[in-house]
């Protein structure tokens, strides 16, 4: 590894890349795009590491960078395959499973911002205020959007995800 990279950055990237990848999988629903999103996120972290490591919490900041990058990249890279017939292309190595296809497909049917709200709140366990900061929304908007997204996901999963959508 190049000596140009600070040791604490390398330690951070090694420790966090796995979790960031999982978050990226949920955001993008696509193995390839998740890899790309992690590289973009950690690349941006590296670019600003000296400033960050003195000023901010790198872990929290990485999630903010990731979700903002994800939202901004909707134009650049389709978040999911968009087959007209709704039959996904093989999106990465390995076999898809029922759980992944069902929940990931449900997430994919939300708007990008709804998906980001749910993943920050329910996967990253971020507070309303932290989520609001990451998404550049007001806390009130996060609360209402979160509730709406939850209801929408629950409705979407109704048939394919009976226990999670149970009444």
């Amino acid at each position: 590894m190049s000596p140009e990279a600070p040791a604490d950055y390398l330690e951070f990237a090694a420790a966090r890349s796995g979790h960031l990848f999982r978050t990226a999988c949920l955001l993008t629903g696509d193995w390839h795009l998740a890899e790309d999103l992690v590289q973009e996120t950690l690349g941006k972290m590296y670019r600003s590491w000296r400033r960050l490591s003195r000023v901010d919490s790198p872990v929290a900041y990485a999630h903010t960078v990731m979700v903002r990058t994800y939202l901004s990249q909707r134009r650049r890279r389709s978040s999911t395959e968009r087959p007209s017939e709704r039959l996904p292309e093989q999106s990465g190595p390995g076999e898809d499973t029922a759980l992944r296809l069902t929940l990931i497909d449900g997430l994919a049917q939300l708007s990008t911002r709804d998906r980001a709200v749910l993943i920050l709140r329910y996967w990253e366990d971020r507070s309303v205020e932290e989520t609001a900061h990451a998404l550049r929304l007001s806390p009130g908007a996060v609360r209402s959007q979160s509730m709406r997204a939850l209801q929408r996901l629950r409705t979407l999963l109704g048939e394919g995800f009976p226990d999670l959508a149970a009444r």
């Binding site: 590296y46 600003s48 134009r75 049917q109 939850l150 996901l153 979407l156 999670l164």
Partner: protein, 436 residues
């Protein structure tokens, strides 16, 4: 069995509403779904570092986020720049001078009054009105009105004709006051380094709107698989209309609408009500620009004036302090970049040959400018060769010129050597036109 849920019988869950129950169970489900993806490829952290180094080298250093403004969009041309109306003073009107851009924190301006809200159904109906007659529609799974959360209105639909089906999505948004446009990643052709297989054209309309039309792929790092075409219209009033469409999932069929038809969608007057209803996002403070950074348009102008005569220039791309082109002197396309950085830091680590394996020479010019000429394999592991001349003036002004023997660092070589000699690269980097 992935659907088993021990929480179903929990006492705590008994009194919960269905929505609360769903929210309680969602974290575990998300975790399971995330874990269900195959693991990432090897050395993801190290590959991320490679990308970060490229970002650090090829973009403005030390500044998080990007601060190029509208002018960068005008300067950024993939393929062609077309003017449909009177010529805009490219860069001149939209670009602040270096002194203006330095440390500028604009006062956020209030957005226009938001009109009556539009619903998701309104958006879908409007999208249908913009599509060619004769097709049929199936309703979308995706779409939003302006809604209580104040998000950008969007709509998506599957449009079908006897020739096939394409999903078509449209989104309307406004600039964030005080926030760099390209940090929001709206508009503009994306650099060939990132998107070697895109074909992107830029058209400046008579009203000053800038239209970008792009043919790309869902997985844009390859030129196979599902096609994704899109058009975005950036209006002078800060409104963006974006439409994308997808070809069939299997094979390489074209989407149904041509790029001109996509352009007609975003330019249609039927969006007026939705545009009026689109709220302006909360203001953001502009991150400070390093004092003295050359605006994108000025970078592009100086850079292209310094290239050898007789070649052709394409895929011009730029930001404040950065410019790149694909240059072809008739012997193969080659990417050439330049970075101009007013106050370089950590230069001791930069001006060393310790890390170079191929070729490296450090010298000092009579005016005190330090020059390092380096030849390296490309950092993406491909076969392209990268030549770089890094110059540092006594006042800390750093200009880096870089080229490779392909149209991007990640693509196969197009020629044995890059087009410029090291002497030409050095002349480019040390030109007095860069100022200071």
């Amino acid at each position: 069995m992935p659907f088993d849920d021990p929480a179903v019988g929990d006492t705590a869950a008994v009194d919960a509403t269905p929505d609360e129950l769903f929210a309680q169970r969602l974290p575990d489900r998300l975790g399971a779904a995330a874990e269900d993806f195959p693991p990432p490829g090897p050395h993801l952290d190290q590959r991320s570092l490679v990308r970060g180094k490229r970002m650090r080298r090829t973009r403005r250093l030390q500044i998080i986020g990007s601060t190029a403004a509208m002018a960068a969009v005008v300067a950024m041309v993939g393929g062609m720049l077309l003017h449909r109306g009177p010529s805009l003073p490219v860069g001149a009107a939209a670009t602040p001078s270096p002194s203006q851009s330095a440390h500028t924190v604009p006062v956020p301006v209030a957005g226009p009054t938001v009109g009556p809200p539009v619903s998701a159904a309104d958006m879908l109906a409007t999208l249908e009105r913009t599509l060619p007659p004769g097709g049929s529609y199936s309703k979308s799974f995706l779409g939003d009105g302006t809604g209580s959360a104040g998000g950008a209105p969007s709509a998506a639909i599957v449009y079908s004709t006897p020739h096939g089906s394409s999903e078509i999505d449209v989104t309307i948004s406004r600039d964030t006051p005080g926030f760099p446009v390209d940090s929001e990643d709206k508009g503009g052709c994306i650099g060939i380094e990132e998107r070697p297989y895109d074909v992107c054209t830029t058209t400046i309309e008579p009203d000053g709107s800038v239209l970008h039309s792009t043919t790309s792929f869902t997985h844009p790092d390859s030129d196979t698989g599902q096609k994704r075409w899109y058009a975005d219209l950036m209006r002078p009033d800060g409104v963006q209309l974006f439409v994308e469409e997808f070809g069939a999932s299997a094979g390489s069929a074209d989407p149904l609408l041509s790029l001109n038809q996509l352009a007609a969608v975003v330019q249609s007057p039927v969006w007026a009500k939705a545009v009026a209803a689109t709220p302006t996002p909360p203001a953001e403070a502009l991150l400070p620009v390093q004092p003295g950074t050359l605006p994108a348009s000025q970078m592009a102008h100086i850079f292209q004036s310094l290239l050898p005569a007789g070649g052709t220039v394409g895929n011009a791309n730029g930001q404040d302090g950065f410019a790149e082109v694909v240059f072809d002197d008739g012997h193969g396309k080659a990417m050439i970049q330049v970075n101009a950085q007013p106050k370089a830091v950590d230069t001791a680590a930069l001006f060393t040959c310790a890390q170079t394996t191929t070729y490296c020479r450090i010298s000092t010019l009579p005016d005190g400018t330090r020059v390092m000429a380096v030849q390296t394999p490309n950092e993406k592991g491909g076969r392209a060769s990268v030549w770089r001349v890094d110059t540092l003036r006594p006042d800390g002004y750093r200009v880096v010129a870089l080229e490779c023997n392909s149209y991007s660092e990640a693509t196969p070589p197009t020629r044995p050597q890059p087009p410029l000699t090291f002497a030409q690269l050095q002349a480019l980097a040390t030109s007095p036109l860069w100022g200071h």
